[in-house]
Amino acid sequence: MKHYIQVGLLSVLLLSVNLLSSCMAGKAHGGLNPTTVIVAGSTSVQPYVEILVEEYRLLYPDNAVGVQGGGSSAGIRAVLNEIAEIGMSSRALNQEEKELGLWSVEIALDGLAIVVHPDNKVENLTMEQVRDIYSRKITNWSEVNGEDRKIHIISREEGSGTRSAFQDLVMGDEMIAPRAIVQNSNGAVRQLVSSDRNAIGFISLGLAEPQPGLQPVKALNLDGFSPTQENVLSGEYELYRAFLFISEDEPTGAARHFVSFVLSEEGQRILSGEGLIPAREMALTGGEGVSDEEV
């Protein structure tokens, strides 16, 4: 018995020593090799950036990029606290954040789709009807040419980039009803809408299309215009927002290299393949285009 305990204690001791030394090594490693670029923030942008990072890693195996979620504001805070080099945001910077003199660049545009269950008879809503539904002035689908069923409204959480875009673009001064169900990601809203015949929600346009292994949802036309990349670009479909990269100052070194990649033709092609709309201006700063040497 005694033997066992001694062996046990010894192995614990060895493991702890190992652990400590690996900590030290890690610290040293981090100090010598500060090239891991950390990108953090909006959960709407995160999946797209993860895909970009995979491609980036194939092209430049020596450059490490780590992606973290947290949300738009968390990304901005992470940049300020220097936990992350680059923040991701799915909303414009607010006044308070602008005053901090942060650097930002638009990496893509993303449409917002109003989605319902595929069995829902409704095909089109006006901007005003959407606003009335979300402020609970309209509570039954029959009021908008649908079946006689109660509407279950699904919203995003307070402070989400997607919600604040919806608030600005659709609601204006009206408040989203507190009775609304709140989900904390595009995917969760989509999942719920796809399984509830009475539900209505708003999600990133790229996710409204049929996805392998997931139940479909139906994206509604808004004021007669279908939510497509073309209609967003032509300005006829009015619900869209920009995805931003944010940094304390204009990025340099490895971070700049990654940002350049995202804004390059290759990066934009990947984003467009995932259902996003390419950024309107591909520039790092003051209109200066991305040179090929940079990527």
Binding site: R77, E157, E158, G159, M175, A180, I181, V182, S195
Partner: protein, 283 residues
């Protein structure tokens, strides 16, 4: 040498034992330092009894979430505690040896299954049943209570069982020798004797229900309104922190830490009450 070892081991154990104190103190300090400024600004009464939560417009009222937390936890306890105690009696007293050897690892396994898996199961299985059979959006107090009840079972069962099994044999033998039936022995002798352990298990279980975040995010619907029935969606204090923390900044973040303070105090009241009960009963 012997004496030195004796002293040293005592000292080391003493120092290790202080770790929980320092951990609790650190956590308390950080939550209070972050959250108090907002409570001071809004006013304690307005914060706790305010009905509107809209940080971007400067409204910080968490009353609907307090109601949400209490109702979901109450529902989970209502289902989970009796079932859990029945199971622990079953394991400790009624189950044949072979069955016990299946039951116990099964409970251990369940304790190990990530809570998100329960949440997922609830979302895919329980929520549609409630929506189709009982109406409403499905995401509801009821869905949350059912899933949390299942989740807190392993905690209640394993701890209650250990404390029943740990009773000296002569308690049971003595009672049986006095002519009590098996059930009378359990009800009048073993359960009262194991009470402190069972209460501890129940507290840990309720703590888990109050503190669970990911599962309730998935099945509760998170609406910030007072529920009118058990089929309505609600938001709990934990989900308020869980779903909004990522996005929060400035005052909004302080408000979430302030929510944390309320949660913290709620749990402290629970703990202290339970500890007083345990102490009294064991005397």
């Amino acid at each position: 040498m012997k004496k030195f070892k004796e002293k040293l081991s005592g000292r080391i154990f003493f120092i290790l034992a202080l770790s929980t104190i320092s951990a609790l103190v650190l956590i308390t300090i950080f939550i209070f330092v972050e959250g108090m400024p907002l409570i001071a600004e809004v006013g304690l009464f307005n914060f706790i009894f305010g009905m509107v939560w809209s940080p971007s417009q400067g409204h910080f009222g968490i009353f609907p979430m307090i109601v949400g937390t209490v109702s979901v936890t109450f529902g989970a306890a209502l289902i989970g505690i009796p079932v859990g105690i029945c199971c622990s009696i079953f394991m400790a007293e009624f189950a044949p040896a072979r069955m016990r050897s299946i039951f116990r690892p099964a409970i251990q396994l369940l304790a190990g299954i990530p809570s998100v898996v329960y949440g997922f199961w609830g979302l895919i299985y329980i929520v549609p049943i409630i929506r189709d059979r009982l109406g409403g959006p499905g995401l509801s107090v009821l869905a949350g209570s059912v899933i949390l009840a299942i989740m807190i079972l392993p905690t209640i069962i394993s701890i209650s069982e250990v404390s029943i099994m740990a009773l000296p044999r002569h308690y049971k033998e003595g009672a049986l020798a006095l002519g009590m039936t098996h059930w009378q022995t359990i009800w009048r002798v073993q359960l009262p004797a194991a009470k402190s352990g069972i209460v501890a298990g129940v507290i840990l279980g309720i703590g888990r229900a109050v503190g669970e975040t990911m599962v309730v995010i998935m099945v509760l619907g998170n609406a910030v309104a007072l529920p009118e029935s058990i089929l309505d969606p609600v938001r709990t204090l934990t989900t308020n922190i869980g779903i909004e923390m990522g996005y929060a900044a400035g005052k909004h973040q302080q408000a979430l830490f302030a929510t944390g303070i309320v949660l913290f105090i709620l749990i402290m009241i629970l703990n202290i009450t339970a500890q007083i009960i345990t102490r009294r009963k064991s005397k």
